[in-house]
């Protein structure tokens, strides 16, 4: 470690490593500091990794013999559940395997270790087990960092990629403490199952993967969902709901997981599996209103630290990678101009604004609020949908036209206008 760098990146997750790779490749002197004993030690993800954004940084990464991917996802299912019934909508396509495969399941810690090596291969220095405690400022500008051991290291630009609990964003004075309504709390178990059992139960060809997300009763009236992803020799079963909802219910997410495991839809799929690891993590879900200023003099904020997740589409690590890459490019440009001020780094915000990251976040802004305002989504609609399906698929000795009457009566409980109003905001998550 030397005393000064072009850039110091705080956090060796997807955002930080993407920034480090981008800057190191351009010849900048880059230092990455990670507080975990190794990259990934503190990180948790479902995990589905969308390929396109990483492919832009590490082309055809999935062909790397060491690529830490589990299964390419060929089928994605959404399930609306009640206690004893569920409707599954799935889409399976071999197109997902062609060209750039759409997404892979990953084991996040293995992924982070592999990805951090890519930053080192690009020429960045990386130290794990180093906790960045504070920023060093001079005349109001960020000029470096201070570790928990009291060491001061200087840099022309600091990239804060230190996750949802970002200490840097708080120390920089650009972010207050988050509220329980601005984050989701996720808890997960990785459950061991043999690959043949997984492929049988999820109807997959050898090596192929699928994802399931469950809504309705499995969330126990809270805003959030349950997920089940297939890895090579394990499945990842997780719950994630607003922290404010867990707070209201006084429910521990580990207990939520236990309740979910007994749901007949899920119990069958995980039966006989042994839990390899339990984990929990916060997910920033405040969206644009909770986003801190992305750039200040000598400082850029990327990934979860900047609240960049899109829960409606279960995206986050891809946004982190794109934002890290764009932050890195902005520092490279600033170095060329010799201007690391807020104005000199401004291209980060501009490029992000022009990208899918900010446009998607703007699009889903207010979606969660709309769903929260219509409690019907959490209980009434799952029940209505399964009741309608039940009628459609039953031969109960009554003429079918009585089914139609009954169906209309069920929908009338909420009123057609109300239903139209409820459903309208969902268009934002439709395509």
């Amino acid at each position: 470690m030397s005393d000064s760098y072009d850039s110091i990146v705080v956090g060796a997750g997807p955002a930080g490593v993407s920034a480090a790779i981008t800057m190191a490749r351009a010849g900048l002197k880059v230092l990455v500091l990670e507080r975990g004993e190794y990259p990934g030690a503190k990180n948790v993800q479902g995990a589905v990794l969308y390929s396109r954004m990483l492919h832009e940084i590490v082309p055809e990464f999935w062909k790397d013999p060491q690529a830490p991917v589990e299964r390419p996802v060929v089928e994605q299912k959404m399930c609306v559940t009640t206690e004893d019934s569920w409707i599954t909508v799935g889409y399976k396509s071999l197109k997902f395997l062609q060209d750039v495969p759409n997404c892979f399941t990953i084991i996040r810690v293995r992924f982070d270790q592999w990805y951090a090596k890519k930053a080192e291969e690009a020429g960045a220095e990386l130290f794990a087990g180093v906790m960045v405690q504070d920023l060093v400022k001079k005349d109001g500008r960020v000029v470096g960092i201070k570790t928990s051991d009291g060491d001061e290291l200087l840099a022309s630009a600091v990239v804060a990629a230190d996750g949802v609990n970002s200490i840097i964003a708080q120390k920089a004075g650009v972010r207050r403490e988050l509220k329980p309504s601005e984050v989701a709390l996720g808890a997960k178990e990785v459950i061991a199952l043999s690959s043949s059992v997984i492929e049988d139960r999820f109807q997959l060809n050898p090596g192929e993967g699928s994802t399931m997300e469950m809504f309705g009763a499995t969330s126990l009236g809270m805003l959030g969902y349950v997920f089940l992803y297939t890895n090579k020799e394990s499945v990842s079963l997780g719950v994630g709901c607003k922290l404010s909802d867990y707070q209201k219910k006084g429910l521990r997410p580990s207990d939520h997981l236990e309740i979910v495991k007994k749901h007949p839809l899920i119990a069958k799929l995980i039966s006989g599996g042994k839990t390899l690891e339990y984990s929990a993590h916060l997910i920033p879900e405040g969206g644009l209103p909770s986003m801190p200023p992305l750039v200040s003099d000598g400082l850029l904020i990327a990934g979860d630290a900047a609240q960049m997740t899109n829960p409606a589409y279960r995206e986050g690590s891809n946004l982190a990678m794109t934002s890290g890459k764009l932050a890195g490019e902005a520092v490279v440009e600033a170095k060329r101009k010799g201007d690391f001020s807020k104005a000199g780094l401004a291209s980060y915000g501009e490029k992000l604004q022009a990208s899918y990251v900010m446009q998607d976040l703007a699009e889903v802004s207010g979606l969660e609020e709309a769903v929260e305002k219509s409690p019907g989504f959490l209980e009434f609609y799952p029940k209505l949908a399964t009741q309608l399906a039940h009628l459609r698929f039953s031969a109960d000795g009554r003429p079918k036209k009585t089914h139609l009457k009954e169906a209309l009566a069920l929908a009338r409980q909420r009123g057609f206008l109300r239903i139209a109003k409820d459903l309208w905001p969902l268009r934002k998550a439709a395509l």
Binding site: R35, G36, E37, Y38, G40, A41, K42, N43, V44, Q45, A47, I107, R108, V109, R110, D112, G129, V130, M131, Q133, T147, S148, D149, V164, N165, I167, E177, L178, K179, P180, V183, L185, A187, E189, V190, L220, S234, L243, Y246, Q247, K248, K249, G250, L251, R252, P253, S254, D255, E258, I259, K261, K262, T275, L276, E277, Y278, S279, A280, H281, L282
Partner: protein
Amino acid sequence: MNEKTIPLPPGAATVESKLGTLEWKKSPQTHITLRDASEKAPCVDLCKDRPCTTVCPAKVYEWHAPEKRVIVAYENCIECGACRMLCPFDNIACDWHGGGMGVKYKYG
């Protein structure tokens, strides 16, 4: 009081058994402190639900009725950070360890 108490299914695994799947680089020092840990702390009388004790995914916080205080088992912490936001009285200071200490996920 909480909205409702949700019954756990029979044979549900405890959070303790889940934590048994994890490893930590142990720190001799706590990284969590209650800003006010005195007998006048808000945890004692003001905080009715004590959400830290019911929601923390690692059961770090437990109400000790005889001593009328919240006990903090910092060595269980899996560093999610939820407690800081959960506490209605902003009484929990949870800072991270240095030196790579704390939870070491293998899968994550």
